[in-house]
């Protein structure tokens, strides 16, 4: 019977070996200071710690800070045990000294059930193997859910685009019918004139041809917008920027839309400064922006209505400022921020022709020129679109 009293640490070692898990424990006094520990406590909890006796447990385990109240409840017998599962701790890994995450369960409970106030046992158990398995599972589940979410989103976006395409096609077809019917009307008119066998008034025919020409331009711009939409959607829209005097764009657009306004009994006016307004831009694109904005205003003003183009340069801020103002019905504040989105149209604009594409393309083109565009409008007060582009310095103009 000589061996019946194994030293306690040997019993512990056997138990630990037998269970095959890594755990250790410490006995705490009522002030939560360490009274004694299991033989392997240092190994698990305090790699460099000697002389742990008397040390407040929270100095070793900051995880316990904030739990004083609950630990008090353990001492008073109001709480049976306190668990913290899978606490992540960075641990130096062997000789390499690199840090790895290990997972531990912490449990605190009274050392003596009947006299809980005497002190607590703190049990620490390494559970990295289970936690790593759980990590793999949770990681996979979460990734899967994220992918599902992305798929669902992509799907909704596709549906939305699909609806827009359908809507767009019908709107575009509708829009193109207007200039086409005008053109076809004038063709008939001219055919009649020719059939009449009378000597023809050339100026009359010429006037009709001019109107037809305007309508062809209009059609052409509608088609260009459709083509640009394709470029934008495929991120292929690029602009070829050269030094360019914005005044030219204003004058040309005003000249070539003049007739359209006159025929509709509407007024177009413009103002450009006497000094040049050079920007770095693709001239055709700037004209396209202007055409779209002027065309947009044209659609919304009533008979006798006015559109005014105003160009100026702000030397202090080095900006070219282009404004297109009309005395049309104005746009409700709520709709203004959506105006430049694909196919957004205000409820009022439903009865008016236009693909709703114009403003979207204008915004993209202005973006490509490092400019900004915004709208100032109030219902009943008309609308003003403003574009700011960076002015070219004198130096840049020369080079």
């Amino acid at each position: 019977m000589k061996d019946s009293k194994l030293p306690p640490n040997l019993i512990e070692k056997r138990v630990v070996e037998h269970l095959g898990t890594r755990f250790a424990y410490a006995l705490l006094d009522p002030q939560f200071k360490i009274k004694s520990t299991s033989f392997n406590f240092n190994e698990l909890a305090a790699p460099e710690g000697e002389g742990l006796q008397g040390m407040p447990l929270a100095d070793l385990f900051p995880e316990l800070i904030g739990l004083e109240e609950s630990m008090g409840e353990l001492l008073s017998g109001d709480l049976e045990a306190l668990n913290l599962d899978a606490v992540n701790r960075l641990v130096q890994n062997g000789s390499e000294g690199e840090e790895v995450v290990q997972y531990f369960n912490f449990t605190l409970f009274p050392a003596d059930r009947r006299r809980p106030g005497e002190g607590l046992i703190f049990l620490i158990e390494e559970v990295s193997d289970q936690a790593n398995l759980r990590q793999d599972l949770v990681q996979e589940r979460n990734q899967l859910r994220l992918t599902q979410g992305e798929l669902a989103r992509a799907n909704r976006e596709l549906q939305r685009l699909d609806q827009i395409k359908t809507l767009f096609l019908s709107m575009a077809a509708h829009d193109m019918r207007t200039p086409l019917s005008v053109i076809s009307g004038y063709i008939e008119l001219i055919q009649d004139m020719i059939r009449d066998d009378e000597p023809q008034d050339k100026s009359l025919i010429n006037r009709d041809l001019t109107i037809m020409q305007d309508q062809v331009h209009w059609l052409n711009r509608l088609i260009l917008n459709v083509l640009d939409l394709n470029l934008i959607e495929n991120e292929l829209l690029v602009v070829d920027r050269q030094p360019f005097d914005m005044r030219l764009a204003v004058e040309q657009v005003a000249r070539s839309t003049q007739n359209m306004f006159k025929n509709a009994r509407q007024h177009l006016s413009y103002h450009v400064p006497t000094a040049d307004v050079f920007v770095l831009a693709e001239s055709d694109r700037i004209k396209q922006v202007l055409f779209n904005l002027v065309g947009n205003s044209f659609k919304f003003i009533s008979r006798g209505g006015r559109v005014h183009i105003d160009l100026r340069s702000d030397i202090d801020r080095q900006k070219a400022i282009l404004a297109i103002e009309d005395d049309g019905p104005g746009i409700d504040k709520a709709y203004q921020k959506h105006l430049f989105k694909l196919h957004y149209r205000t409820p009022e604009s439903n009865e008016v022709q236009g693909t709703g594409l114009g403003l979207y393309i204008v915004k993209k083109l202005v973006d490509q020129h490092e400019g900004t565009i915004w709208v100032e409008s109030e219902v009943g007060q008309g609308t003003r679109f403003v574009i700011e582009l960076p002015l070219l310095s004198n130096l840049q103009k020369v080079s």
């Binding site: 904030g66 004083e68 899978a86 606490v87 992540n88 759980r134 990590q135």
Partner: protein, 170 residues
Amino acid sequence: MKTVQRKICLLGDFSVGKTSLVRQFVEGRFDDRYLSTIGVKISRRQISRPDYLLNLLIWDLAGGDDYDDVTSGYLRGAAGILMVCDLTRPLTLHTLRKYRKQLDEIKLDPVVVIAANKVDLVAERAVDDSLLEELSQQINAPYLLSSAKTGEGVAAAFDQIAGLLEKKKS
């Protein structure tokens, strides 16, 4: 100067950026990879307040919409909670409503601030300010926009919690 210690927990759906916010706040760095947290990781950082030093013990918990008893164990003794949602995933706002309900059920009343995270992902943003206002009212907690990537709003979130803690005490 006086030093005060406070426990702050991060709550929110998985992958909203809780771990990343803590990493940014404590270590000043960001990692693009996603490693789901298991259990809890506790970090510390001291911030200075007008007349004392505040030692924050920051509890980064595993995310998910399945709040259980384990979670409430972690919340013991928390003075403040940073609730995190993801601006690119509207459903993560709803998870916070569930968390609020569960806090009320276990009669816990810490100060709460909402971080609407990943504000740097402008193109993917799917939650507008009005939804956040609404959430903020329902949960009864202020919100701010944050990015663990750029650091925007990160320190501000913890400062706001500290401010609310001071207000609550006085």
